[in-house]
Symmetry: C2
Subunit: 336 residues, 2 copies
């Protein structure tokens, strides 16, 4: 479960992430390209050394942030033209530059630059954006200068089964180290998200890692793992922590709720995280109401512990051939 980062997972140190059991983190190419710049990070020995994280790093291609953050963008055959959300400067992100940046960062897993397709979108728009994603993926393959970093391609195809399936086959033909299912969790109904995974996941041979990008809630993770997904990335555990939404085995709680004002219990009596072992809901509510920086930290530690623990439990259940039972128990606890 990579945890997103612009060379820092917000309130936490790399050492804390390691202690929480994180085995891989995600570095944002868009952010690091704009600030402090990939050439600076390369000169300082790469992102691992720069941020003092010595386990794998996956870098995204920057395409999604160009789509979601930049104030102006234009997609051309050559690449994406966009304005920085920091200073308005104009930039051109080509597939070749996306690879150059990710290699400079020293990524263990790089992602191909893809085009982001909004939801809803018509069939013609989806087809043409998906075809462009294929040509960009091919250029990414060509742009690699070494095999030190793995390269994953991103399946697009909007919400059209046929386009997704065709695209999956096309990318498999080109040959990558792993495959991501992209363009999901963009506002479509949940059944549609699951349908898009269900129709494309089985086409990818089991020895490839399959990565669903930008997903999701604990329930989403369980359902996606049930469909054979291996990897996820999502802001949900960390962003929601900062907003005071805390995940537990029985559902989530909103810490600012007045009923927690004098609650001496931990967030989740079944949780073994640092926050639950040391602080009461009453104290966490106070920190949140007072907007103390410690609030972000303690909440983030809890939510990451929960998410990383959920993934560990699912891995174990699969290894011990009892995933079906695990899934039933997972929902039973939440209903009570």
């Amino acid at each position: 479960m990579p945890v997103g980062t612009q060379a820092s997972v917000k309130a936490l140190t790399p050492g804390e992430l390691y202690t929480l059991g994180a085995e891989i983190i995600l570095g944002n190419t868009y952010h690091l390209y704009l600030r402090p710049g990939h050439n600076l990070i390369r000169a300082l020995g790469g992102l691992h050394r720069f941020m003092n994280w010595h386990l794998p790093i996956l870098t995204d291609s920057g395409g999604f942030q160009v789509y979601s953050l930049s104030s102006f963008r234009k997609i051309e055959e050559e690449g994406a033209i966009f304005r920085s959300h920091i200073d308005g400067s104009l930039h051109h992100l080509s597939p070749e530059l996306a690879i150059e940046i990710q290699e400079a960062l020293g990524a263990d897993i790089m992602m191909c630059l893809d085009t982001c397709i909004p939801y809803p979108a018509g069939l013609e728009q989806v087809r043409s954006a998906t075809d462009l994603t294929t040509r960009w993926a091919q250029r990414c393959l060509m742009a690699r200068t070494s095999d030190k970093s793995l390269l994953f391609a991103i399946v697009q195809g909007g919400m059209y089964r046929q386009v997704r399936q065709d695209h999956t086959y096309r990318l498999l033909e080109l040959g990558f180290d792993g495959y991501a299912l992209g363009g999901l969790s963009v506002g479509e109904p949940k059944e549609m998200l699951f349908e898009m995974i269900e129709c494309s996941r089985p086409l990818i041979p089991d020895y490839f890692p399959v990565y669903v990008m930008g997903v999701g809630t604990p329930e989403d993770l369980v359902e996606c793992v049930a469909m054979g997904v291996d990897m996820f990335d999502c802001v949900m555990p960390t962003r929601n922590a900062r907003n005071g939404m805390l995940f537990t085995s029985f559902g989530h709680i909103v810490i600012k709720n007045a009923r927690f004002a004098d609650d001496e219990g931990p967030i989740d009596p079944e949780c073994g995280c640092y926050t639950c072992r040391n602080y009461s809901r009453a104290y966490l509510r106070h920190l949140f109401m007072a907007r103390e920086l410690l609030s972000y930290r303690l909440n983030t530690i809890h939510n990451l512990y929960y998410y990383l623990g959920l993934m560990t439990e699912m891995r174990r259940a699969i290894e011990e051939d009892r995933f079906h039972r695990f899934r039933k128990d997972f929902y039973r606890k939440r209903i009570k």
Copy 2:
């Protein structure tokens, strides 16, 4: 060196403060009275338990925040009337309530409610505010319901030697567990600050702890210790950390300075703190420029390590009877 807090030293956990060597922290009566409320904290077992800090806590009386934060205030014989900076609600802080709150919090050291005198102020105003502070100190003594908490009085007297000296004698007559020199660091010239300490400190017998409130820079601490001061509290190490001003043995650095962009060295090569052992100036500058929460933490850890270390060094130098030499070395390093 108490470190100020509204039940959290901003970016750090109590466990980290302990690891840094902090032996006492300061809880703000004004903040905790308004939010979450002293009765709630009492019901939850006191401030130590609430925030999970098991070493001594000093609480201020709330008087200074009434003076500096509240949107309306009026000082009467009975106490201070003020409006909350949070919701504008009207409150009345009497000496008796200040003690009630501090006892409810479970302070190890309580401070008497005092009146804050602006700088500059005329002799008549200073005399009358100082006399009121004496009467309030007397009422604080009467208001104590147990001897579980020590009670310190605060010497006022503005910038008038005679008024300060008279006030010191007056408070010594009343009899407290320790004495603070207050109303300093309010905009007066440095020589005046030192003169006010110099004229009143020697009047207090050596077996009482002497505490200068709201001071100061590393140089200030060295000079005050040279004059026989034992305790300080100040936002400087933590607030300046959050603003990117980092203290070192050779002076301070401003981390956002462009010359640190590719600087692989630590903040201070002679520093053994977690931040200096693990992160470069280049990375710390990046975190600061990107306004990452981790920036506040790593900078705060460094500055507190520096301040607490400085106090430890001074204690040792005094014990080994070489403070004069220590002080010379301290300034020699900073000049280079």
